[in-house]
Structure formats: structure tokens, C-alpha cells
């Protein structure tokens, strides 16, 4: 593992890819590998892009990446697609929209399934982002499907989050319900060549007015057409402006702290959730279920005792 890490840090693509896999599956030696990685982490910007399927996120990301490339920056892209809860498999198709980037050796694209990891996904992404950072990538773009809690978690890892909407789909209302809007630092109304753009922008503005905007920076709404190439320079400018905003209001050390805190909490949450699905938990629960059925205890007492047993076992 140490050799693999050294080669990855030297920029060898195959090694970077295999290191990511080894860390993902927590292979032997992975904590040592991450230790080496963290020594080389620079704290490069992480930009999250979320939105419902079909909103054009991948195409937008591709364009954003290309702009970073013209600035000579090396770009890492993490593209998440949903894993089937039934089969555990996934079709990861975001790369299709990023064809222009594929033979560019300054771009690394890694696709991941959500893998039913709720709570652990953000932590896995965080590790991959740190690896790419340490191995020489200057900006990391993370694409997720905006359907719920995962996105809110990932927003803890990404410093700038772009929420992508499409005119007329009623996404705005759906997303408000899922809390997605609260995580958007920039709202992009993509496919702005479609009818209904102005209305969507108006709805968003109205919704933002309703929210608490007291001390915060006003959230920009950008109209884009990723395919036509419109609005992309404005979007890119907003990304840079947000970065500057972060750097002036929260110094590098603060951002770094938030990142590690977010990652730590996500790691703990992921481990707890994985723990709960282990067989031994159900076994330990059975006596408590018996006691509940017999009216000998209540849920609160039972869960307290069960928790104690689980944690004790987990820490051993």
C-alpha cells in the first residue's frame, strides 16, 4: 500500500485510481495510506453540483472543468449516480456527457454509486477528494443527484454548492421540500433556451426573499445553457466570487477546520449506520423485543440498553 500511495502522490494515474479503490474498501493499510495523503493535502476548492436527473449537471460540470483547464488547473471530478437498492448495482453514466475531457491528462473522472451508504457517502467522497488533492489536482468538482439527504451531507464537504434547475419542471418546489435550496451557494437555471426561464427565475427570487437573508451574501441566480455555451462565464465568475467570499470571511484555517469536522462527523455517522445493519445487532435486539412484547419494558429504556450493548461491541 505504501508503494501504491507513493506512486499515486507522484501523479501516476493508475496508482491514483487503485489507491482510491483500496481506501474505499478499507483494505489493509488504508489508514496509513490516508495518513500519508493528509500530509500532502493542500486544501484545494471543492465545488458540489447538484440537481435532479436531466438538469444538465454533467454537461455543466464538463464546461466548468474546461474553463479551469484553460487556467492551467488540473481538475478532479467525482460523479455520483444512484445505486439500485434492490440489486446493489448501478449504471454510472455521467461520463457520457464529459467526452471532451476524457483524453485530457489534466482531468481525472471517477464515478461512484451511492451504494446505499446514506451517511457514509459524503465521507467516502471526502476521502476521494483528499486523495485527488494530494495527488496534484487543483480543484475538485462533485456531481450528485439532488434527491435528498445525501446532498445536504455533501454540502458539508463541498465549499461551494451549485444547485442546477431546469425551467418548468417544478423542481424548485420539490427541492425546497428536500432542503436542497438551503445548501445552494449559487443557483443555476440550466437549459435557459427552454420556455419558462423567466418564470422559474422569478419563483426562485421570490423564494429567496422569503428566506432569512439577514447576514448572508445574496444568492446569485445564473441562467445557463450548457449545450449552447451561454451564461457559463457568468457562472464561472460566480464560482470565483464565492471562493473569494469564503476566503475573506472565513480564513483558510477555518475552512480547513470545517472540512475536517464535517468529514469526522460523516465518518462517525457512516460507521454507526453500517453498524446498525450488522447481524449481531438484530440478535442482540431479540431479548429486548421479547421484553417489549411482555410489557416488561418500554422503547426508550430498551433502546438505551441496546445502544449501550452495540457501542460496547463496536469499540472492542
Amino acid at each position: 500500500m505504501k508503494n501504491l500511495t507513493t506512486r499515486a502522490l507522484a501523479g501516476n494515474t493508475l496508482s491514483i485510481a487503485r489507491l482510491i479503490s483500496q481506501v474505499e474498501r478499507e483494505a489493509e493499510g488504508f489508514t496509513e495510506a490516508m495518513h500519508l495523503i493528509h500530509q500532502k493535502v493542500r486544501g484545494v476548492p471543492i465545488i458540489g453540483v447538484t440537481g435532479v436527473g436531466g438538469s444538465g449537471k454533467s454537461t455543466l460540470i464538463s464546461r466548468i472543468a474546461q474553463t479551469f483547464r484553460t487556467e492551467g488547473k488540473r481538475v478532479g471530478i467525482i460523479a455520483i449516480d444512484p445505486t439500485s437498492p434492490f440489486s446493489g448495482g448501478a449504471v454510472l453514466g455521467d461520463r457520457i456527457r464529459m467526452t471532451d475531457l476524457i483524453n485530457d491528462e489534466g482531468v481525472f473522472i471517477r464515478s461512484m454509486g451511492t451504494r446505499g451508504m446514506s451517511g457514509g457517502l459524503a465521507s467516502a467522497i471526502s476521502d476521494v477528494a483528499w486523495i485527488l488533492d494530494a495527488c496534484g489536482f487543483d480543484v475538485i468538482l462533485v456531481e450528485t443527484v439532488g434527491i435528498g439527504q445525501d446532498e445536504v451531507d455533501i454540502a458539508q464537504i463541498a465549499e461551494t454548492t451549485i444547485v442546477v434547475l431546469v425551467p418548468g419542471l417544478g423542481d424548485a418546489v420539490q427541492m425546497i421540500k428536500a432542503g436542497i435550496m438551503e445548501i445552494g451557494d449559487i443557483l443555476a437555471v440550466n437549459k435557459a433556451d427552454l420556455p419558462g426561464v423567466e418564470q422559474t427565475v422569478a419563483e426562485l427570487e421570490a423564494m429567496l426573499d422569503l428566506g432569512d437573508q439577514s447576514n448572508k451574501r445574496p444568492i446569485p441566480i445564473v441562467k445557463t445553457s450548457a449545450l449552447e455555451g451561454e451564461g457559463l462565464d457568468v457562472l464561472f465568475e460566480e464560482i470565483c466570487k464565492h471562493r473569494k467570499f469564503l476566503e475573506t470571511t472565513a480564513p483558510h484555517t477555518e475552512l480547513r477546520r470545517r472540512r475536517y469536522e464535517g468529514a469526522l462527523m460523516e465518518h462517525v455517522r457512516g460507521r454507526l449506520i453500517r453498524l446498525l445493519s450488522e447481524e449481531f445487532v438484530r440478535e442482540k435486539a431479540q431479548p429486548f423485543v421479547d421484553a417489549l412484547l411482555q410489557g416488561k419494558t418500554d422503547l426508550h429504556t430498551a433502546s438505551t440498553k441496546l445502544l449501550a450493548e452495540i457501542v460496547e461491541k463496536a469499540l472492542r
Binding site: 491514483i16 485510481a17 440489486s87 448495482g89 448501478a90 454510472l92 461520463r95 467526452t99 483524453n103 451504494r115
Partner: protein, 131 residues
């Protein structure tokens, strides 16, 4: 912790008939694998770069245009050059038996012709994938 088998499904060259590739992609997903579906018109370089970055265990190539001999060989050569020959390469599409034998000699692990049952492909991958 285990992770799913990762398969790149790609159509090299100019052939635009992707139904077979999509059928296989879905079958692999239903079998619990992660399929990196790269779509049409991929060059050998693009396919190999993708497989490397994604740390794929398998590359599945679909070719109906007749260009399989050159394209598949290019991919095998590139994998060797990039020290990634441990990635299992399988193929399907319109490939005559004689060509299939030659390709297998050259390093393609198996060719699954039209009508090949997807269960057979799934089983093969589970047995032979690199991880």
C-alpha cells in the same frame, strides 16, 4: 469491506447500435455490478483511460461495425502499455467465429455473440474479474 465489480461498457469506433450494450449494462447492474457506461464513438484511448481512472475490473466492448479486429487489438495494446493488462477484456456484437478465436488468442477473455444469455456473461465476469 467489499465493493461491487466495476465494468466499463463501451462501444469503440463509429458503430451506433447500442441496444445490445444497454441490455448488457442493465443485466450487469441487476447482478449488483457498477457499470460505467461510456456510450458511443469511443476511441481506444478514451476507453482505456476511462477503465484506468475508474479502476475497472472488466472492459466490455460492443462492436457491430466489423472493425473489431483493429479496435480490440488497439485496446489490448494500450492496456499493456499502461500496465493495466490485469483488466479483463470481453467483447460482443457481430464478430465471426474465426475472428473471435483470434481475438481470444490475442488476449480478449471471451466473445459473447448475439443471443448470448446475460446470465452467462454475469457468471463469467464473477469468476474471472480481476478483483
Amino acid at each position: 469491506m467489499d465493493r461491487p465489480i466495476r465494468v466499463v461498457v463501451a462501444k469503440p469506433g463509429l458503430d451506433g447500435h447500442d441496444r445490445g450494450a444497454k441490455v448488457v449494462a442493465r443485466a450487469l447492474r441487476d447482478a449488483g455490478m457498477e457499470v460505467i457506461y461510456t456510450g458511443l464513438h469511443q476511441t481506444p484511448e478514451m476507453i482505456v483511460d476511462t477503465a484506468i481512472q475508474e479502476d475497472a475490473d472488466v472492459i466490455g466492448l460492443s462492436a457491430l461495425s466489423g472493425a473489431h479486429m483493429t479496435l480490440f487489438q488497439d485496446i489490448l495494446d494500450l492496456l499493456k502499455e499502461k500496465e493495466a493488462s490485469d483488466i479483463l477484456v470481453i467483447g460482443g456484437g457481430i464478430i465471426p467465429d474465426d475472428d473471435a478465436r483470434l481475438l481470444e488468442k490475442a488476449g480478449v477473455a471471451a466473445i459473447f455473440g448475439p443471443g448470448a444469455p446475460t446470465e452467462g456473461i454475469v457468471d463469467f465476469i464473477r469468476k474471472r474479474a480481476k478483483r
